[in-house]
């Protein structure tokens, strides 16, 4: 695969949740509680794309295809876009910009505080995602962007805390993110090389 087709694949992956949602509307009709439906769909999409972006480096290393690295930025930005859509639905459709109700709601619920913190951590990452900022920050850029693991952890916490009792899916996300983090921490390439020798 050349770089262009890898880039295009990243956009296709990023748009899958949107297309999937459109097909759900097509098949099942308009949701009866649209606000809850938009919030669930956008939140799920944000988390899935976040996981996808975190998976790029480990997949790149395991497969030995360094060209895959160009997927990291678009996938991360899709995750950010879905997060913003999620927040926008909450602020605009659920709470109709009633700031008094919004602050009362967010600060009284631990899962919403976790979601808010995750969102706040995403903002500097999205803003500094450009090549210009990457150059300007030099080696600090890498350090800064490790924040993404903190943001992912908070996003999963947000999810774990908000489900009623069936925590299987949130814990599945937590496990996958944990494994991806471990793969970054362990000098995986060396281990693999040692084995293949």
């Amino acid at each position: 695969m050349n770089r262009l087709s890898i880039r295009i694949s990243a956009h296709i992956i990023g748009l899958i949740p949107l297309l999937w949602y459109a097909s759900t509307l097509w098949r099942h009709g308009w949701p009866l509680d649209p606000v809850a439906s938009y919030i669930a769909a956008s939140g799920t999409a944000a988390l899935q794309l976040l996981v996808a972006s975190l998976a790029v480096t480990p997949v790149q290393r395991l497969s030995g295809r360094s060209a895959l690295g160009v997927m990291r930025r678009p996938l991360g930005l899709y995750a950010f876009a879905y997060t913003m859509a999620h927040l926008l639905v909450y602020l605009m459709l659920d709470y109709a910009w009633n700031w008094q109700q919004i602050s009362q709601n967010i600060f009284s619920k631990r899962h919403l505080i976790a979601g808010l913190l995750a969102t706040l951590l995403f903002i500097p990452l999205a803003l500094t995602s450009t090549t210009g900022w990457q150059k300007r920050l030099g080696r600090w850029w890498k350090h800064l962007h490790r924040i993404v693991y903190g943001a992912a952890g908070l996003a999963v916490l947000h999810y774990v805390w908000l489900v009623k009792s069936d925590t299987r899916i949130p814990y599945l996300y937590a496990t996958v993110i944990g494994i991806l983090l471990l793969m970054r921490l362990l000098p995986l390439r060396k281990v693999l090389h040692a084995q293949s020798r």
Binding site: D33, L93, D94, Y95, Q101, S108, K164, S165
Partner: protein, 324 residues
């Protein structure tokens, strides 16, 4: 609830109790019992005007019978038939609210019996036909789900106290326990291990005897469809929706406080009373406000879901933060 001396436990005492509940309920304003319209024409609430000032006449979709009212006593319009019968919390079928109707389609409720037993003088097994004879009045109630959304629903049925009067609770009876059908083959959600099935709920006897406590057998002018709890369910409008147990097969009068499914699942989240109370939050959902299904934005949640005039006296002297 005040103890009733044994000597008074006669049908008259029961009658007197009912009178008292009637009075409590009727105190304040007749408005507080919206659905007590035995003759719909007499107390039919005026339709809520829409933005242009013209009364809104809801269109009746297929499958919907006639309903007398178009709004609750606060003038809030009925939630669409499609949402009332298509957006349901009924974990016995599926946890996906919008998939319940399809998952529950074909749920057979005939024959159906309801066992009423425990601390009663005349325990009895009722056939559904006999229960249906107890009345069919329309009541428009707000339903406030603990998850922070709400609807306005035209139920039909009768006050639960009519049924309880037939079995004559003894003086020892202090609580009423309700149980949903337990049949994992017909209710596949009951195969999920997360909860202790069957669904159970409870009320204090005076709550159960309150005239507002409705045994609903119909909605929108038709018999209850499966997704709404066919063939009979509670509608306790001043409590969170989960108290209004569906597809009831057993009602037991007890002297100990029943443990509901939700109390067993998460004791720190769900108490026995579960009265709608904007000042006492659930750990996950703010109870200060609610989204009426179909609306954008949220409205303030009312104490006892707007039925305070009728029911607040049941809880005088109680710390509602402790008894949540």
């Amino acid at each position: 609830m005040p103890p009733i001396p044994s000597s008074e436990i006669t049908p008259e005492a029961l009658f007197w109790n009912r009178r008292r509940f009637m009075q409590t309920a009727l105190a304040g304003a007749a408005l507080t019992i919206p659905g007590c319209a035995a003759t719909p024409s007499a107390t039919n609430p005026t339709p809520a005007p829409d933005a242009s000032g013209a009364p809104v006449v809801p269109t009746l979709p297929a499958g919907q019978g006639t309903v007398a009212g178009t709004s609750d006593e606060l003038g809030q319009p009925l939630t669409d038939f499609a949402a009332v019968t298509g957006y349901n919390n009924y974990y016995e079928f599926t946890t996906d609210k919008q998939a319940v109707a399809a998952a529950a389609a074909g749920f057979v409720t005939n024959p159906w019996t309801v066992q009423v037993d425990g601390l009663v003088a005349k325990p009895r097994q009722f056939a559904l036909e006999d229960i249906l004879k107890l009345g069919n009045e329309e009541r428009i109630y707000r339903l406030r789900c603990v998850e922070g959304w709400s609807m306005v629903i035209p139920w039909s049925g009768f006050s639960l106290n009519k049924l309880l009067a037939l079995v004559e609770p003894t003086s020892a009876a202090k609580y009423v326990r309700f149980e949903t059908l337990n049949d994992p083959e017909r209710m596949p959600g009951q195969k999920e291990p997360w909860y202790t099935w069957p669904y159970a709920e409870g009320l204090r006897l005076d709550e159960a005897m309150h005239d507002l406590t409705l045994m609903a057998t119909g909605v929108y002018g038709n018999p209850l469809p499966p997704q709404n709890g066919a063939p009979l369910r509670l509608a306790v409008p001043w409590k969170y929706g989960f108290k209004s147990i569906k597809s009831i097969v057993r009602i037991t009068l007890t002297d100990t406080q029943p443990t509901s499914l939700w109390m067993a699942a998460a004791p720190d989240e769900y108490g026995f009373y579960a009265n709608v109370n904007p000042r006492v939050d659930h750990p996950r959902w703010s109870q200060a406000d609610e989204r009426r299904i179909g609306d954008t934005g949220r409205r303030q949640t009312l104490m006892f879901n707007g039925y305070a005039d009728a029911v607040a006296s049941l809880y005088t002297g109680m710390d509602l933060r402790k008894f949540y």
